[in-house]
């Protein structure tokens, strides 16, 4: 029975794989006019990097919902019954501690750099948050402590929702002023994107950090 099931799965995957190859080889797409539309509107987007313009302006609503997904993950994880993993003990490994002493400040600097550079080059909140969360993990492994003790899970809640809350607030503001949802005025677009991305960096880093067992 198990063998039959396995063979069925293998057969199914093979069929899907072959169909995909067939489709990808044979599909005829039109000339990509969307990239032209992006570069045409880039001047009004508040940033000069096309990817950031798509993620935080043209298709910012998709990003907002993705950030909601990133919020749901730690919420659900917190709601699950835990088998209470022992808090990671400091390893007292001098190599790790020496590494952390150099790498953590550098990572903080790098996170800020990635956040700010997002406007014109590859970078932005998601990259910065990943680096920040990595720094926290390294700190935890090396010293057994990372976030300050007063920042209990309950008190982390405002920080966890900060990014999405700022995103929503900008959206509401643009709607209530009579515009479209998340329709930034071109003059303010750069500032608003930076504000949202700064909040997102902190919230996403915390969300990633909270998902580490």
């Amino acid at each position: 029975m198990r063998v039959v099931a396995h063979r069925l799965i293998v057969a199914g995957c093979t069929v899907v794989g072959l169909a995909l190859v067939y489709a990808v080889v044979n599909v005829q797409g039109p000339a990509p006019d969307l990239a032209l539309a992006v570069s045409g509107a880039l001047a009004e987007s508040g940033v000069s990097h096309p990817v950031t313009a798509v993620l935080l302006n043209f298709r910012a609503y998709d990003t907002l919902l993705e950030v909601a997904v990133m919020l749901v993950a730690p919420l659900v994880a917190a709601a699950l019954p835990t088998t209470a993993p022992a808090p990671a003990k400091p390893t007292n490994d001098p190599v790790l501690q020496a590494l952390a002493a150099v790498a953590v400040p550098l990572a903080l600097l790098l996170a800020i750099y990635l956040l700010l550079i997002g406007a014109s080059r590859s970078g932005g909140a998601f990259h910065a948050a990943a680096v920040l969360a990595g720094a926290l993990v390294l700190l935890q492994l090396a010293t057994g402590r990372s976030l300050p003790a007063w920042l209990t899970p309950t008190r982390q809640q405002p920080l966890l929702i900060l990014g999405l809350a700022l995103f929503c607030a900008v959206g509401w503001l643009s709607l209530l002023l009579g515009g479209y949802f998340l329709g930034y005025p071109p003059a303010w677009a750069g500032v608003m994107i930076l504000v949202i991305e700064s909040g997102l960096t902190l919230s996403l880093a915390l969300a990633l950090w909270r998902l580490m067992p």
Binding site: G29, Y61, D62
Partner: protein, 483 residues
Amino acid sequence: MIRSDALLPILVMLPLSLALLLLLSGRWGRFLSLAGMVLTTALAALLLSHGGQPLHHAMGGWPAPLGIGLRADGLATLMVMMTALVCSAALIYGEYWFDGAKAEQGRQFRPLAWLLWAGVNALLLADDLFNLYVTLELLTLLAAGLAALMATQAALTAALRYLMVALIASTAFLLGVALLYGATGTLALELISIRVAANPQPVLVVAMALMVGGLALKAALFPLHGWLPPAHGGAAPPVSALLSALVVKASFYVVLRLWMGPLAPLTGGVGPVLGVLGGMAIVWGGWQALRQHNLKMVVAYSTVAQMGYLFLAFDLLQGAGYASALNGMVLQAVAHGLAKGAMFLAAGALVVAAGGYRVDQLQGMASRQPLAVTALAVAGISLAGMPPTAGFAGKWLLLQAAWLNGQWLWLAVMLAGSLLTASYLLKVVAVTFLPAPVAASVGCGQRLGGVALMLALLALLAGFAVMPMLQLLAPVATTGGWL
């Protein structure tokens, strides 16, 4: 001055923003949730008052191919209203259910349920293929998380299995999205429809198979339904109601949207396949429901059977019966949402009062839990398709479509399905009228049953609103949703 089409983003952002506030608020959460419920339902009613006139909002002010649009027609409007009623009932029920010892779970249920409401509204109003994928992802994660709230071993296992299955389904859907994007160079649904119609390449059948297959898995279409009964049956009752009434229906809704729009030129060979699977779901799901001894499993298998009607109807969506089939599908989706929500809520009340899940423990419930039993019976009448409910109108229209198309086999299957539905529900309701054994009665108020009855009565009342609902759907039924 706020734009009139701002209603669409507000229907998504109000529940989302409320969920964020609920994560911060302590004692005020209950009142905030109640106020938000009234407000969001009022906004859904406001959308209803537009009478199905298509509304459109360009997110960020960027027009369609560059930006993302939100769009509401009669179909979306009806589903948004149904969602508002089911979510409100589940949230009120949740306030009573997660009380006392379960207060901590309740504190987690509230924001997750509000996020689910936001996610469902976002999906219903989406006018962009990738945006549909994002909303499906949001719903999947929320559904798995909510199903795991119960924290029993069985519920956790079922939730994790659901998550795995749903992620496979999401991946298949995303592959289809990528293929369609590659073939048309756009993600806006209307533009994809135009470009696919202009050049219906055979390779797009692969995209269609991946998307419809993934969504059928998420909608628990036979034979891909195995994950549903344990996940829906094992969750807390207000969660089961949300999952069975809304989350599986969301996947069906996406299939319908794609079927009438982007995939319309390619549906030829797929309709009969969905028809056969739907027909088997009706018979198999109904038969399994009849055989279950666990009350919540009866209701969960009933969802498998009722989803069968919705998928069988894709094969009726052709020829002379097209309009009847579409109207019937939507009425069936709305009626099933209300009735199934009510049924899971009523089952929860009965399980608490009986102190166990088994159907034979329900003896004497008709006198001890009259409101819950009435809710179960009224919802059952709608599910079995008896007048004067909306379920009757929906099934009648589906039968009419089969009649007009001369699809006699589907006519017979649907009639047999109604008989099966009536049998398994009558079996349960009949037990509640047997004299109660002299067992220790568990103290349980009538409030849970009362909330369930409210939702069941809405399913009944919807039967008197069939004509206005059909008027809302008229433009969709004639143009396939694209005006």
